[in-house]
């Protein structure tokens, strides 16, 4: 059993809560006490049936204002997979939440209402998924019951979306007609749409092939922490702890440390389960080397013949998440892998209209806007193009005084 991390997005009232509620209910992740609480709330609101949308009901503050503030995480499992859903609100003012949810997602489910077809929101959601490098996208055409399960209605949306998404980087797109309310094609295939030959949403989530999405080619090991036990029995132990960001590392490999440029050989890899001959992207390990070289937090172990770019000039797509505008000249901290360095914003190259994909000239980025910027860091970072390696191509910006997280960035190398 492995984990699939997914994000869900949709405009208000497209049925996202109902869909998630149905997934939790039908896979038995929702328990009796939660269902009873939802039953009580449904009756309070004057409903007869169980309102599954209330299973994902959030905070008091949200109910008071009738909005969803933030990303919530939901969990369910089947015999094949454990699923982590980042449930993100849809409004344009929540672009940052969608970006947050998509940053770790391997798959995104974007909902549209079958009656309305594609909207600005669905275009924006698809664009964010492509910018954030989410490899699999599912367009769930919901409320099929309200269009009499009509094939033509579905096909119009399917074609329109497929045409639009051709301009984006979406390696794998599936379009599934569903009714979250009635349960059609959510967990089980329905008989009400015989013209649809694909699988149910859950079946797709269980089967989608994600193993090949990881970068297992470019070895990148950012050192997180140096382990020196200072205990008699491990007197000479010196291990470099970290999570492998990309690639595969084996005992005996020759490696180079950046930025120092010193080389050595891997003598051992310690994992939580003991010593291993090999470790790959996603594993938290401790690496021992044959030589005592200059290597500490923020440095990278990599291969001599396949190195990341070492640079102080960072060109990136940025999603700006602060109320204060981003402007050239601003001083920020860049946290990239395990390295945090001061930087200056050099230039805003353009702002991206998230609905039309058009670029407009800009000299600032406002709250929730996405644009292309250039930064200059005070020290080099060792990075890759985000689309090639998410873990070494992504970074966040931090405000040096308030310490707030200002932005998420995706590096572009030419």
């Amino acid at each position: 059993m492995d984990i699939l991390r997914l994000a869900t997005a949709g405009s208000v009232d497209d049925g996202k809560s109902t869909l998630i509620g149905r997934l939790l209910y039908d896979t038995h992740a929702a328990q009796q006490d939660q269902i009873e609480a939802v039953g009580r709330a449904s009756r309070r609101m004057g409903g007869e049936d169980l309102n599954l949308a209330l299973l994902t009901d959030g905070l008091k503050a949200e109910r008071e204002q009738g909005i969803t503030i933030d990303v919530a995480y939901r969990y369910f499992a089947t015999a094949r997979r454990k699923f982590i859903i980042a449930d993100t609100p849809g409004h344009v003012q929540y672009t940052r939440n969608m970006v947050t949810g998509a940053s770790t997602a391997e798959l995104a489910v974007v909902l549209v209402d079958a009656r309305h077809g594609m909207t600005e929101q669905s275009r924006r959601h698809a664009l964010i998924c492509s910018l954030l490098g989410v490899p699999h996208l599912v367009l769930a055409v919901n409320k099929m019951d309200l269009v009499d399960y009509d094939q033509a209605a579905f096909q119009r949306i399917d074609e329109e979306f497929t045409r639009f998404s051709a301009r984006l980087r979406i390696p794998d797109l599936s379009v599934i007609p569903i009714s979250a309310l009635q349960g059609d094609n959510v967990v089980r295939r329905t008989t009400r749409m015989p013209w649809y030959e694909g699988s149910s949403l859950l079946h797709h989530l269980e089967q989608v092939h994600v193993a090949a999405d990881q970068n297992l080619i470019d070895l990148r090991f950012p050192v997180q922490y140096v382990i020196r036990p200072y205990r008699d029995e491990y007197h000479d132990y010196r291990g470099y702890a970290g999570k492998i960001a990309a690639g595969v590392l084996r005992v005996g490999d020759e490696v180079i440390a950046l930025p120092s440029g010193m080389t050595s050989t891997v003598t051992a890899i310690d994992t939580p389960a003991g010593e291993a001959a090999e470790a790959f992207a996603g594993m938290s390990v401790t690496v021992r080397l044959a030589d005592d070289i200059d290597l500490s937090r923020g440095d990278v172990l990599t291969r001599l013949n396949n190195q990341p770019r070492t640079t102080q000039d960072v060109d990136a797509m940025l999603c700006w998440m602060s109320r204060e505008e981003l402007r050239p000249g601003m001083r920020v901290l860049v946290k990239h892998t395990t390295r945090t360095v001061p930087a200056v914003v050099k230039q805003v190259r353009y702002r991206m209209d998230v609905n039309t994909l058009h670029r407009t000239e800009a000299d600032a980025l406002g709250f929730n806007e996405i644009g292309r910027v250039r930064l200059r860091t005070t020290q080099p970072i060792m990075c890759d193009d985000y689309q090639r390696s998410r873990a070494t191509g992504g970074f966040i910006l931090i405000e040096p005084a308030t310490k707030l997280t200002l932005a998420g960035g995706m590096i572009r190398l030419d």
Partner: protein
């Protein structure tokens, strides 16, 4: 190796994530500590801390906020486990705070839940901790579903759900303003089932009350409570002996038992799979107070 697809199983992925989070905190903060109650989640947390820094010792102390209403067998387990791991235990004592007058008990309320938070904050201040690991999981409760892995608290320990830092990829922002501290939840993405699968897989020892045993109990509000000196029985509440186990372990005043015959980890996993109640719904009187009980307590600095 034995992994031809080079994809981690769910437990290995969760373990790798938790280890990464713990190392990140130790690298970025000055003075972290781990909240350790002897409950299963905190036991798993301390186990992960051992793995994250091996062969070095766990580089931070553990903290227990003792309400004075704990199960004695959990305190025994706590002391033994902490000694085996070789970490320092710091106890923040609610009875001492009450005696000193820094916190007051609400009259007529048996639970010391509300007294826990000020004592926790006092302990944080006294030892100048800038980060506290907690074993809370997002699947436990709807307010926790919105919690960050790195949750920033102000000088009063308050959680502001409307003003959380965005958390992208695995790039955690551990930077703080003066006076604030972090609550860090390495088990955020674990479910109750994941925790038990991990306990079974790694053969992690737990306090005995997690497994079925005979106990004198009485029924209140549909839950079974251990007969104990801190709970005054009300009219009509008869004690009897039942075979039970505890799904969560908190105070004796607010933690209910469930009828059980599960004597091994495998039995417990089978029981959870068949159970139609969430662990907090089945056993926590403190969450039943009202539907936003957890959200309200978290805002005030609870973990």
């Amino acid at each position: 190796m034995t992994n031809p697809t080079l994809r981690l199983s769910h437990l290995l992925a969760l373990e790798a994530e938790a280890v990464h989070i713990m190392r990140e905190v130790v690298a970025e903060t000055e003075n972290p500590a781990l909240l350790f109650s002897g409950g299963k989640d905190s036991v798993v947390l301390l186990h992960l801390a051992k793995l994250a820094f091996w062969p070095a010792r766990v580089p931070f102390p553990v903290v227990h906020i003792d309400t004075g209403h704990n199960f004695p067998e959990v305190l025994t387990f706590r002391d033994e486990y902490v000694a085996t791991v070789g970490v320092r235990l710091i106890v923040g004592s609610v009875p001492e705070a009450i005696a000193a007058g820094t916190v007051r008990e609400a009259p007529g309320v048996e639970s010391r839940n509300s007294a826990q938070t000020p004592v926790l904050l006092e302990t944080v201040q006294k030892h100048r901790f800038d980060a506290l690991f907690g074993g809370a999981r997002r699947d436990e409760e709807k307010a926790r579903a919105k919690e960050r892995v790195f949750s920033v608290r102000d000088e009063f320990g308050q959680w502001d759900p409307k003003n959380q830092r965005p958390e992208l990829w695995d790039l955690y922002n551990g930077q703080l303003q003066p006076g604030g501290h972090l609550r860090v939840f390495p088990l955020s993405n674990w479910t109750e089932t994941d925790v038990w699968q991990y306990i079974a897989d790694r053969d992690i020892a737990l306090p005995p009350l997690y497994y079925a045993h005979e106990r004198t109990v009485f029924e209140r509000d549909g839950m079974l409570f251990a007969d104990n000196e801190f709970l005054t029985r009300r009219a009509g509440e008869q004690t009897r002996t039942e075979k039970v186990r505890f799904r969560t372990v908190g105070d004796m005043t607010c933690t209910g038992a469930v009828r059980s015959t599960a004597s091994s980890n495998a039995d417990v996993l089978a029981e959870i799979a068949a159970s139609r109640l969430t662990e907090r719904g089945a056993t926590r009187a403190d969450d039943r107070a009202n539907e936003t009980a957890m959200e309200d307590r978290k805002r005030e600095g609870y973990f």
